[in-house]
């Protein structure tokens, strides 16, 4: 257009053009003519209105020089523009910037690497200056496209890395320039992010660190920034600047990139990148990353288990970082999502080892997550997991259900191991303890074992678990760590001991128990003893020990080996208890028995075996080797404790299996009793009872089921028997079922105990007749439990509130009509009806 080389007419040319022309040397190697550049700068500053024309003119010259491949002059033009850009004030730059960016683009369009790199440098410089008024019309499309392409440069030699570095720097500059103001250009739009993110990742993955096996990565010169490093820095910056609404825009192409580049297996790089993301992301959003990864697992549900395992593994590697920031609902959401992935996995592939690994990876992720949550949330999580476990029933479970149960129990165990119990009552809220104990009677021995292991890790506070893992009579060698039980501990065991013992005892009756099962139950008992034994509760423990012995002597279902196992457990516990409580006479007695057995019947001592020698004699024929109730009473007394309760009938009477279950049923309404000595256990039980004075009276005046005081102290409705009358949570169920169980448990008024028939019987029948009927019903119930399908059971146990209400009214009506014949106690009941009704509106 303008020749610019015509010396004669130069005088006629505008001043700014002459000034621009003069900055160029004759030969480009001489570089920018500095003194003339100063003049040009001065002119631009004093006549800012000329700046845009200067810019345009410089651009035109450079464009021409590019065309003629006179790159030396192009470089000088660019340098001059750089200097003007920096020197001039913001408010005058606006139009100049347009020429400046046109120039940069022009250089970037050239195939000459040198010019591309130069252009990038200028662009970076530009990105760093603050513009007075943002140009809303300006678009960075081309720059993002071109810099991304440069990030993938495939030039030969070291030019390649230089161009890649320039590309990354350019992207970094675009992001910096635009990120603060979405109106300028929304850099978070997919059209940009889908270029920027893969470009950065592509360079990061070129780094050698995660593919060490190739081994031949050349060392980059010290002074040179290598693309992977720079890309990583840029990635951190990008992620760090992302606000909540933009996180997904970054994560989506990341996940896509890993899919397409097959970077999940092996997953070192994925772990590396996700760590970077987690550490750069604004902490409050880190949960989103976890969420996205889990959603990606969903999308990969059809992918090979290896890929899913790898993704889950990445999840487990980063989930801990999110745990610290996760609150309330998001925690449960994460857990819930992990659990549903587990469930899906169980549904889809039952036995493949790959699928198992995937499940392991998910469980690990769960554990990792839980590990970094505060303890109170761990309890919540454990309860939550518990609520997701389908309740096992004989014959009814599909293999998938069984697998799911055991996998969820494993997850529970994992979380449990990360949890440090301080107070047992905090660790075991009723709503957690009850289903756990229920599960401890699952038909599948492996499942029962898992439950015991969960109990172990949660009960053991003093690291005695290892030492008590197997029954032994050499307790002194164990060097147990012990601490005096605290008051909350005592309250806990007073309140829940009977239920727990009941469950453990019932669990010992299972004829499918292997040695491991029996050992595990021993461990639970031993831990309970070490953690919680006190002079007040020792009688309960001893009663249980005697009960177990009795079981071994009278049960018809257990094998001989199982019976020997039980005797060995008895001997071990009998040895442990007096040592823990320091009751010398009893310890001596235990030692004596141990010694005698060692001589005559080593099969009644640990170790527990699967097969015993054929000539092992039944314990029934060796009465002198058995633990004698009277003797124990005596030694307990000698130890300064009151054995009265022990002398009375054991709750684990000679009834055999099923006898315990249901022992306490309805007995609370037996009439004419010493009920007055009964203490109600503390906590919510008192609450619920006191909220219904009518019921309270009934309870207090009732006769205890047996003559034993043991029973009086038990809240009988919490007995094992009572537990499995409740509907149980199933996999798909929501937590409302659980909460219903909880509520009903608290109210201590399960419908079965309040049916009209039972009430009427209680009130009219002679005690003996009712006892028989009860035994029969127990038998039935036990049968039902073992044979009914889950839905049947659920149906049976559905609350029948309105029916119940009617029946109650009937009962109370009948009571009032016969009031005259009744004792003052009964009259008192009646007078309390309205209050009762008032206080149980939900009935």
């Amino acid at each position: 257009m303008f020749s610019g080389c015509c010396g004669c007419c130069s005088a006629l040319r505008p001043r700014y053009k002459r000034l621009v022309d003069n900055i160029f040397p004759v030969i480009p190697q001489d570089g920018l003519v500095k003194s003339n550049m100063e003049k040009l700068t001065f002119y631009s500053l004093s006549s800012p209105e000329k700046l845009d024309r200067i810019g345009e003119y410089l651009f035109q010259k450079a464009a021409r020089d590019i065309y003629r491949k006179r790159y030396g002059f192009v470089i000088i033009a660019m340098e001059a523009m750089d200097q003007l850009l920096v020197a001039c004030h913001a408010q005058t730059l606006n139009l100049f910037v347009e020429s400046f960016l046109k120039m940069v683009q022009k250089l970037l369009e050239s195939t000459e690497p040198q010019l591309q790199i130069l252009a990038t440098q200028s662009f970076v410089r530009f990105a760093n200056i603050e513009e007075d008024t943002p140009s809303y019309h300006r678009r960075y499309d081309f720059f993002v496209s071109k810099f991304s392409a440069m990030c993938h440069s495939n030039e030969h030699g070291e030019v390649r890395d230089k161009i890649r570095v320039a590309g990354i720097r350019g992207l970094q500059a675009v992001v910096r320039k635009t990120v603060s103001d979405d109106l300028v250009e929304n850099i978070w739009e997919p059209v940009h992010m889908d270029k920027i993110v893969p470009s950065l990742l592509f360079n990061m993955q070129e780094s050698g660190f995660h593919m060490k096996e190739t081994g031949n990565i050349e060392e980059a010169p010290e002074d040179q920034v290598d693309p992977p490093m720079l890309a990583e820095t840029c990635m951190r910056e990008l992620v760090g600047r992302a606000s909540f609404g933009h996180i997904r825009a970054v994560l989506r192409p990341v996940l896509r990139h890993f899919d397409l580049h097959k970077l999940w297996v092996p997953n070192q790089f994925a772990i590396h990148v996700f760590r970077i993301i987690m550490f750069s992301i604004q902490a409050q959003y880190s949960y989103t990353v976890v969420e996205s990864l889990m959603a990606h697992l969903d999308e990969n549900s059809k992918s090979s288990p290896t890929i899913r395992t790898s993704i889950a593994d990445v999840l487990s590697k980063i989930i801990a970082i999110a745990a610290g920031e996760s609150v309330g609902p998001s925690v449960l959401e994460i857990i819930n999502s992990l659990l549903s992935h587990l469930r899906d996995s169980v549904r889809n592939g039952l036995s493949q080892t790959d699928e198992k690994q995937y499940q392991e990876a998910l469980i690990n992720a769960l554990g990792e997550f839980a590990n970094h949550l505060p303890d109170y949330q761990k309890i919540e999580i454990m309860m939550f997991i518990m609520s997701k476990i389908p309740f096992p029933l004989v014959d009814n479970n599909t293999p998938a259900d069984n697998l799911l149960q055991s996998i969820l129990l494993k997850s529970l165990l994992k979380v449990g191991t990360k949890y440090q119990t301080i107070h047992l009552n905090t660790t075991f809220p009723v709503s957690f303890l009850e289903p756990l104990l229920r599960m401890s009677l699952a038909p599948d021995p492996d499942m029962r074992l898992l439950v015991q292991k969960i109990l172990h890790t949660l009960i053991d506070r003093h690291n005695n678990l290892e030492k008590l893992s197997k029954p032994t009579v050499n307790v002194h060698e164990l060097e147990l760590t012990m601490e005096k039980s605290s008051r909350p501990d005592l309250i806990f065991i007073n309140k829940h001991g009977p239920v727990i013992y009941d469950a453990l005892y019932t669990s010992l009756q299972m004829d499918t128990n292997g040695v491991e099962n029996i050992e595990a139950i021993y461990t639970t008992l031993a831990l309970l003893c070490v953690e919680l034994a006190s002079n007040e509760t020792i009688i309960d423990l001893l009663q249980l020990v005697l009960g177990i012995q009795n079981l071994a002597l009278t049960n018809n279902d257990l094998s001989n080996a199982q019976k020997f196992n039980l005797h060995a457990v008895v001997a071990s516990l009998l040895t442990l208890i007096p040592i823990v409580l320091n009751i010398k006479p009893l310890a001596d007695y235990a030692a004596k028995i141990g010694k005698a057995r060692k001589h005559e019947a080593p099969h009644l001592l640990p170790d527990l075996l699967v097969h015993y020698p054929a000539n092992s004699e039944s314990a029934n024929k060796l009465p002198h080797l058995l633990v004698d109730q009277m003797a124990i009473c005596e030694f307990v007394k000698a130890g300064g404790l009151d054995p009265t309760r022990l002398a009375q009938t054991s709750p684990y009477g000679a009834g055999g299996p099923g006898a315990v279950a249901g022992n306490h049923r309805h007995s609370w309404v037996e009439s004419g009793a010493r009920g007055s000595i009964m203490e109600l256990p503390g906590g919510q039980d008192v609450d619920s009872v006191s909220s219904s004075p009518g019921v309270q009276r009934i309870i207090i005046k009732e006769k205890p089921p047996r003559t034993s005081e043991w029973h009086c102290e038990v809240n009988r409705h919490q007995s094992w028997d009572a537990l499995f009358k409740f509907p149980v949570p199933r996999t798909s169920s929501d937590r409302s079922i659980t909460s219903r169980i909880l509520r009903r448990t608290n109210n201590k008024l399960p419908e079965e105990e309040l049916t009209f028939e039972s009430m009427k019987k209680v009130l009219t029948e002679p005690p003996e007749a009712r006892k028989e009927a009860e035994a029969e019903r127990r038998e039935q119930l036990s049968h039902t439990f073992r044979t009914a399908t889950f839905s049947e059971l659920l149906h049976r146990t559905q609350p029948k509130h309105d029916i119940l209400q009617n029946k109650l009214n009937e009962i109370f009506k009948s009571l009032s009509t016969t009031e005259a014949n009744r004792s003052p106690i009964d009259r008192e009941k009646k007078s309390n009806i309205p209050v009762y009704e008032q206080n149980f509106p939900e009935l």
Partner: protein, 203 residues
């Protein structure tokens, strides 16, 4: 010098090895590159041509055919005015993949995009795809069709010139998707054409 009147973005797609890079090099640099490596990600070239005495600048984005770069390459479809889908006439599988490519284009590119099917390497003796088969496919999918040889420089110039002419005509009738409007989403709706003043806004 920067006096072009129109700026068009052209994107080349198709399986790896069909000759996309060679076509671009032949057109922009007038050479048939000896044994360059496979394209990684995206490559960029520019060429200004003259149509009806008007300067038309073609921004050519040459994409990698490999699957693993699909996410980045797709992100370039969106702003394309023309898409050149290339197969190798001596390699049946590259032709068989065309429906897959069309699906991608369907999904990621503007519906208004000018689509051209190119059967490359016609200099080769071992042709597997007869011209009519290519023609037929193009007709069925509403595409322009051309057979080329990057090696022998056959039809290469014509290919890009045809695209430039066609796009210019579209532009004149204002029926061109506009990418440098103030909104970044591509509606594909008819809108004002990019002329020099528009393109200078760093489209």
């Amino acid at each position: 010098m920067e006096d072009f009147k129109f700026l068009f973005k052209v994107v080349l797609v198709g399986n790896a090895g069909v000759g996309k890079t060679c076509l671009v090099r032949r057109f922009t640099q007038g050479l048939f590159p000896p044994g360059q490596g496979a394209t990684i990600g995206v490559d960029f070239m520019i060429k200004t041509v003259e149509v009806d005495n008007e300067k038309v600048k073609l921004q050519i984005w040459d994409t990698a055919g490999q699957e693993r770069f699909r996410s980045i390459t797709q992100s370039y479809y969106r702003s394309a005015h023309a898409l050149i889908l290339v197969y190798d006439i001596s390699c049946q599988p590259t032709f068989d993949c065309l429906p897959d490519w069309l699906r991608e284009i369907e999904e990621y590119a503007s519906s208004k995009v000018l689509r051209v099917l190119v059967g490359n390497k016609i200099d080769r003796e071992d042709r597997e795809i007869p011209t009519v088969v290519g023609e037929d496919f193009a007709a069925r999918h509403n595409m322009y069709f051309l057979e080329t040889s990057a090696k022998e420089a056959e039809n290469v110039e014509r290919l890009f010139m045809k695209i430039a002419e066609d796009l210019m005509q579209q532009a004149r009738s204002k029926d061109l998707p506009r990418y440098d409007s103030n909104t970044t989403n591509i509606s594909g709706r008819t809108s004002a054409v990019s002329d020099n003043s528009c393109c200078s806004k760093l489209a």
